[in-house]
Symmetry: C2
Subunit: 219 residues, 2 copies
């Protein structure tokens, strides 16, 4: 199966968004890839043709076993390169994502096998996320943590522990809701506040009080 970079990116996004057995919406993929829903529909037809996704008009998208296998290969490549950048080239964990995003598309079984070996066959990447093995086996991802304790850089809001309407109102005003993706820009130790950013919007700061109550999972 020879995939283009664009196709690989779609597969990866669908994998990322398809938590458990749910189906992924056109809109969600478009948002994830910073593209338009119409483009997602177009690509969905191609990936269905290649039997990498299940897709019926208006019914959402999900990976086939074959699609999932490929997604895991891409995730494996991405995370191994992140390890390389951090462990061997002394990058810090927040700089590696963009570069790994490119390196992950270099396809060579042998390269990845040897890279993994060279790195000591790590099982988690610098963000703590598990690295699938060569057979695509991956350990279950971490349980939810509150935003103030999260270690990953890119997070998805998975819940709010304080249901007070004032918090929800505040989050709503900031554009934070279930499924919102956040990037951690900086943590300030003096007050445990955290600066976060939602894709394409200016960064803003959340107090410890708030971040304690936002439950997230890393992406």
């Amino acid at each position: 199966m020879n995939l283009t970079v664009a196709e690989e990116n779609y597969i990866k996004s669908i994998y990322k968004l398809q938590d458990g057995n749910t189906v992924v919406s056109t809109n969600a993929i478009a948002y994830e890839l910073a593209t338009k829903p119409a483009s997602v529909t177009d690509m969905a037809k191609k990936l269905k043709e290649k039997k990498l996704i299940d897709y019926e008009k208006y019914q959402g998208i999900s990976l086939t076993p074959e699609g999932r296998k490929i997604a895991l290969q891409i995730v494996r490549r991405h995370r191994l390169w992140e390890c390389f950048l951090v462990d061997k080239l002394s990058f810090s964990w927040n700089e590696v994502h963009e570069i790994a995003e490119e390196l992950e598309h270099v396809r060579s079984e042998k390269l990845i096998t040897r890279l993994s070996n060279f790195l000591g066959n790590p099982t988690t990447d610098p963000h703590g996320d598990p690295i699938p093995d060569a057979m695509g086996r991956i350990s279950k991802s971490q349980p939810l943590v509150s935003l103030d304790k999260a270690t990953a850089r890119r997070l998805e809001v998975a819940g709010v522990s304080d249901q007070s309407s004032s918090l929800l109102e505040f989050l709503n005003a900031k554009g934070i809701r279930l499924g919102t993706q956040l990037d951690i820009i900086e943590r300030y130790e003096f007050d445990n506040s955290v600066e976060v950013k939602i894709r394409n919007q200016p960064a803003f700061t959340l107090s410890e009080q708030v971040s304690k109550n936002i439950m997230v999972k890393s992406l």
Copy 2:
């Protein structure tokens, strides 16, 4: 200057073919990139627009100083990755070209700077070819050697030391002439013969007697 992978590959080919100050022909580039002359003409217009090449209809192509600068960056990336693959991942020199061909298009100044450092800032790649430094400075390439002593994998025929017509006739029959590119497939120690391949043609073997008289330079 943000270039596509295709544009980078054209720049690299032109650099490779443009030895000294000569101008490069449409056909030569098409052959090098295994594409069609018409496609080269199309791309030439784009690269001229971007001021990376000098190009006038029917007059051949040459890099501008800016184009050359970019070419050297690509060559640098390619050769550093080859070092990495051989030195760190234990690839053999004849396996690395294709993979480096992909890795070279990952653009990140910082990545390349750190990779170079990690490798001990090597000045030649595993084939003995010089690696341009961060400023694009490159040491003069090696003088011609006879094919039986060449260490590089991809060679270009630069001359024949024995001018006997029987040799020239033989070479002609094999499709070897000035400027022909050869890939070394294998060397056989028992008789010092060498198996070579011309792009897209089946491999064939040259005796020591013949290879001694073919002067080559590495590409």
